[in-house]
Symmetry: C2
Subunit: 209 residues, 2 copies
């Protein structure tokens, strides 16, 4: 009631293998008011996908017009082929409706979002140890050793971005990590910078008396 | 395990009548690792009080020597008579032992503590509305109307310090306010500034491989 009604924009990153998908899933289960951000993309729709649910499907011309008009919080082109991006209007509307928005995104995308939207809360999900991360990458059993070692090096490179995030959550136990992110959201909603209207509210009341 | 082991210094303020004593009590019940700060004072020990438990009892000469040596996070002299102060050494030792320390203190004391100890987390407990605060002040039934009106004006003056705090917790329901402070503590422990050693830890591990 006393709180700023706008939802938070929560940006979550972490190296592959750290289990951020699982943590985000647990987080969405805990927080009813949280919505996952829907990306726009130019890649073809698959048969089981619904426009506006899984993605906003766009033609290349549409997507490039949106870039032109500054309609993305961030976007990227994968292998010079398909575009993926986070539409600003969608995120802003959800937030105005009081929904917290979860954006799971790589380190470079996260940095862009923080630049465009400084009130975004950025969380880096980190492994308990590097060797734990390596074990998890091998454990997935879907890639050969060279590919895994490459991912491992990439993971370490991503971890260098850690100091640029607001928070770090170590994923030792999924439920604990998810609860930790919930705590961060609650704390952020009590931060002074998100409650600047309070003083004015008390003053108004004093003047009316 | 991965976290900085040092405890937090949590500074809580709020106007009289807001119920901060009740919130702090509920907080201490929730958090086993939290200790309440013990003040030093020159006022005489009462029969049921224990030195080092209720207060550190000091003579005026001892207290003034401690001021001289900069041994207080903050101190004050009430009506030019008795001194009260927060001993730096006690707080630091508890924190080194991993205990979070709760310091319930007025706005001016809180500002001094934040200055000396910038990593302190400051929380302002605020009333849902000013009229709610007035109702609570009258509800205590221990003072006459003039005294209550004076307290009410003082409360409004204290509320002007709100923007200087890190967080604001509105005490509408005591348990919710206490939980909210717990969330703040958990979030702060995950903040990047309190986990700067993590990167070094991962790098060390990579170098050893």
């Amino acid at each position: 009631m006393y709180r700023n009604r706008n939802g938070l924009l929560l940006v979550v990153s972490g190296p592959s293998g750290v289990g951020k998908g699982t943590v985000c899933k647990a987080l969405l289960e805990r927080l009813e008011t949280m919505r996952i951000s829907i990306s726009a993309t130019t890649r073809p729709r698959r048969v089981n996908e619904i426009d506006g649910v899984n993605y906003f499907f766009k033609t290349q011309e549409e997507f490039e017009a949106m870039i032109e008009h500054g309609e993305f919080l961030e976007y990227m082109q994968v292998f010079g082929l398909n575009y993926y991006g986070t539409p600003k209007a969608y995120v802003e509307e959800e937030r105005r409706n009081g929904h917290d928005i979860l954006l799971e995104i790589d380190v470079k995308g996260a940095m862009k979002v923080k630049e465009v939207c400084p009130d975004a809360v950025t969380v880096f999900i980190a492994p308990p140890t590097m060797s734990d991360l390596k074990t998890r990458l091998y454990g997935r059993g879907t890639e050969n050793e060279a590919a895994i070692e490459r991912r491992y090096k990439e993971a370490f490179a991503e971890i260098q971005y850690l100091p640029k995030y607001d928070y770090v959550v170590v994923n030792d136990i999924v439920d604990r990590a998810a609860k930790n992110i919930c705590d961060i959201i609650e704390a952020e909603k009590s931060s002074i910078k998100r409650n600047s209207e309070l003083i004015a509210k008390y003053s108004e009341e004093m003047n009316e008396q």
